[in-house]
Symmetry: C2
Subunit: 583 residues, 2 copies
């Protein structure tokens, strides 16, 4: 068998030279194809370890060019973004996902290990190339194991080429994250342990990669005279009398956050790259994977001789994690001069109603309506349950807990290697009649499988109802931030209790639903989404809590696989796509 | 170009089924080939993270089947060892080297990432298969990045099918290692930093994977009433009045050790799988990569009502690391009953003469002489220097600091992918005339390269002179334990100062030199080796200090590449051996 390898390898040199030339011509010289797609926006990234101490605790992070968060990508809608990622981790692979970018025509650039590509090996360089076709606020992060939690994340700012329905004098990114002193390797063995070891609450909440520590240890923020400059908090400089756009995103590993700026109301104007009918909030709830643009006014009415707190507080879990603090720095106060006040306490962690209200309040801007089809072709109801499977704690959808396959779905399906996947078709619903969502789950038939793959009719309209339930702990139902790759979906509605197909569909907002790529599923509630399966590829749909995804809380959608173009060879090299594999 | 991929991938299923069947028939059923090679000795290993706390400090280790050290392989000479390694690390690759096994006819099973194989990816299973053709004490360990230091190592005990020149009533392994609380990822960024951050001395020395901690913190061993049972030391149970064989090996990341058993003289009888003309020592020096068998007598003259200390002390560096302590437990004393004495202090760390004397004392057993050829065909003198290259601290041989290539040497050379390597031929010597080995190196021409590849005439006799020198610190020359893959070599001699080709060759021991695979290069000294380049393959020759190897202290020997059999496909999948690679 091995004699296949020689002509194959010997022919490689010429082929490679040709490919290098092609890419050079394409990237450097902007020929017709690139011109059509818009300007090329190129980035050279090196993924490497670096010590960081955002909260004054020194931790080995996985960084991009040494930074946490990584560099912001600044692009203009229509541009082709090219990111050349070199893996300089010594023994570890990596993959990077472009969160919110639909990857139309480039499903292989989605960066989702096991779904759209093999991980990038140490020493390898992988080129992500995709069009940012829609203005908005997006993000990127590792999508391999639980590397996100160790610091590989950042923002993508796609400026509008058209006029937007609001104006502002300056704009800034604020990326929120939570931060553990333990690393992803430790989390992996904790979560795989028998008995189960929960990773616990994060040590810190970071605002733009920084936490707040007082220079006098143990002093609360309001009493603190000076922040610890070794890990000084993020400080955002603003001028008075302006309207400022803040592009806020959350890439927490676990936490739902409430973000607030002391004495500054926020007007929500964009969500996940879609314009929002403006509404004002005192605090903005962010679920991992979401982005919002808000406008704030640095009005001359305020006392400009002082700075103001920015606060990111953990909600929806009774968390021991101190709130993330940063400083809104009015010109010309010292950037780290502490506000004379206590930081705002924020909303109560368990005020689910307030959070549902805000979820419902996010509607499409009246001038940018893209109303959904009135009906769907298929409805998939996904019951979210925590289960014990083979002695280990897992998360399941309709009793299927996703095991990521060794060969990525996109390659397996496109290249007819479907024998690598479990062929059992996952169910479109659960036992709605008899399942008690308020009880500890008894579903003993839950099982791990690579078969959580829903094959969708191309261009069909699909409804997904996310149904929450009780966890394995009595009287506990968690919040799950769900994220869909490759699409924006219409958010048709949120409800409490068990979704009722006969009555709850009547409450759908079919008039001005917002389109998003990430959406919360509230405790004991349901969330209804609709999308058009019109993007040829294979797309992950999963809970954006790193630990829940690791424990199987995901499904995969395939649509129009036959319309997917020739797969680039660079996404291969693992599982069945190694040149040859001995058992 | 991508259309090559489809028939290739589609044909894979049949091919793979065939391969599975072949392997099953081969492994399970012992057909003619396996019978000729001897019995099959099969092991199933899972490489995974596990918390361990050998010195009462909890650290995430990389383990085999959860263990540090990993399971001992018990084999009989002539057997075929099959180790099926599954990589269950979540995002990290691995490769395992069989230290001292010559891999005759199976160079692809040597387990040296970048030299003989691509690393095993997460989820992959790789089958190592090789014949243990010679009785003796061998070891295995990770050979990828600096994973060895995180715990992947163990011993291979190959029993003789013939009568040995000594007898004993029982035998035991004692694997020595040093242990850092920092992990390999942290070491990697420290060593790659500018300015350079040295990893420092290890936190502990482990004897058979255990350290000694007193139950009363801060109490010295001699004053300690009870060891801390949470991390209790290794205790070796022996009966009085017996002769016992101890198979002792060292796989330290950094340290040279002196091993001693209180009141028990040791008779050295085997070194690196070769019989030694017996000689007695009070303490045995071990350089990383070496193994020795010693015989001890648990004589009835001794006080058998007590236990005795075993001590492993760091020498050749002025180390802050406490000596490793374990217990020789006389039947029927309690296993952890502490000896009533202070542990032996061991030799002075800086007694180079004593260490050279012991190196020289290791000679081949008179009944097992395999005298070396009288002359060599080629002499390669390798000057060992520490250099600053591109602002970073590195180690070089004749000014070449090895950068491991992206495509393993074995594959690159066998499959004529030599364009992936630097073609500059590394020098066979250095400027012997003018180089001052007692001064801080001034060699500004040192450079990193994948070209540290010496191509040897098949079956030729090669001499290697390792020449030590001053480091970048005035008046410091370090000890380097050098290890050759794929061969045993004759140890022709050790000397002080600069090797003189005209006069020092006369001092060679051509009568009864020991054969070994690992050998020390003493401070400011030289070590002369001779071997026959008769094992078709590509073989690493390197300093066995993990950190020095990481910093380039290695060369590679190629011999008889045209006689290497068909390469197994399972070693491929990285660099140029991915099915296709886009730049």
């Amino acid at each position: 068998m091995g004699n296949m390898v020689k002509p194959f390898l010997q022919g490689r040199r010429l082929l490679e030279t040709f490919l290098v030339l092609c890419l050079l011509v394409y990237v450097m010289d902007l020929p017709s194809a690139a011109k059509a797609a818009g300007k090329v926006n190129k980035h050279v990234w090196d993924v490497r370890y670096n010590y960081v101490s955002p909260d004054c605790y020194k931790k080995l992070a996985i960084t991009i060019n040494g930074l946490v968060p990584g560099p912001t990508i600044h692009a203009v809608e229509g541009e082709t973004v090219v990111v050349q990622v070199t893996n300089s981790l010594v023994t570890e692979n990596v993959a990077i996902h472009w969160h919110g970018i639909r990857q139309i025509g480039t499903p292989w650039s989605d960066g989702t290990e096991s779904v759209t590509q093999c991980a990038i090996q140490p020493g390898d360089t992988f080129v992500y190339q995709f069009v940012v076709d829609k203005a908005g606020t997006y993000m990127y992060h590792a999508h391999y194991g639980m590397q996100l939690g160790d610091g590989i994340y950042g923002m993508i700012r796609v400026k509008a080429a058209h006029k937007e329905p609001f104006s502002y004098s300056s704009e800034h990114e604020i990326l929120l994250s939570d931060w553990y002193h333990k690393n992803a390797y430790e989390h992996a063995i904790d979560l795989s342990s028998e008995p189960f070891v929960w990773v616990g609450e994060p040590n810190s909440v970071l605002i733009q990669g920084r936490a707040f520590a007082c220079n006098e240890p143990g002093t609360e923020a309001g009493q603190c005279k000076e922040p610890n400059r070794k890990c000084s908090p993020f400080s955002l400089n603003v001028r008075p009398g302006r309207t400022i756009r803040l592009r806020i995103g959350s890439l927490t590993a676990l936490s739902t956050l409430s973000f607030e700026i002391e004495d500054h109301e926020m007007t929500v104007v964009e969500a996940d790259g879609n314009y929002v009918e403006p509404f004002k909030v005192k605090h903005l709830y962010l679920y991992s994977g979401e982005t919002y643009s808000v406008l704030i006014k640095t009005s001359p009415k305020k006392d400009r001789s002082r700075n103001y707190w920015m606060v990111a507080k953990v909600v929806s879990r009774e968390s021991s994690t101190p709130s993330g603090l940063a400083i809104l720095n009015y010109n010309f106060n010292p950037p780290l001069a502490l506000p004379p006040t206590d930081p705002p306490a924020g909303p109560h962690w368990n005020d689910t109603s307030d959070r549902i209200d805000q979820s419902v309040a996010v509607k499409a801007h009246h001038a940018y309506l893209n109303p959904p089809p009135k009906k769907s072709d298929r409805t998939i109801i996904l019951l979210n349950t925590q289960n014990k499977i083979e002695g280990k704690v897992r998360w399941s959808l309709n009793n299927v807990s996703l095991n990521l396959p060794h060969t990525p779905y996109l390659i397996a399906l496109k290249e007819n290697l479907s024998y690598v996947l479990d062929h059992k078709i996952p169910p479109d619903s659960y036992d709605v009649e008899n399942y008690d969502i308020h009880s500890v789950p008894k579903n003993t038939e839950a099982h791990p499988s690579t078969g959580g793959l829903y094959r969708l009719k191309f261009n069909s309209i699909v409804d997904v109802i996310l149904q929450n339930a009780n966890t394995m702990t009595p009287n506990v139902s968690e919040t799950h931030p769900w994220h869909l790759h490759g699409h924006d979906f219409w958010v048709l509605g949120y409800g409490r209790g068990k979704f009722n197909m006969a009555t709850d569909t009547a409450s759908y907002n079919l008039t001005n639903p917002i389109m998003k790529n990430s959406v919360p599923l509230h405790p004991y509630g349901w969330t209804a989404l609709r999308f058009r399966a019109d993007n040829p590829g294979v797309w992950a749909f999963h809970c954006h809590i790193e630990f829940h995804f690791f424990l199987g809380m995901a499904v995969v959608f395939e649509e129009g696989i036959d319309q997917v173009g020739e797969l680039p060879d660079s996404i291969m090299g693992c599982g069945e796509t190694k040149p040859f594999v001995k058992p």
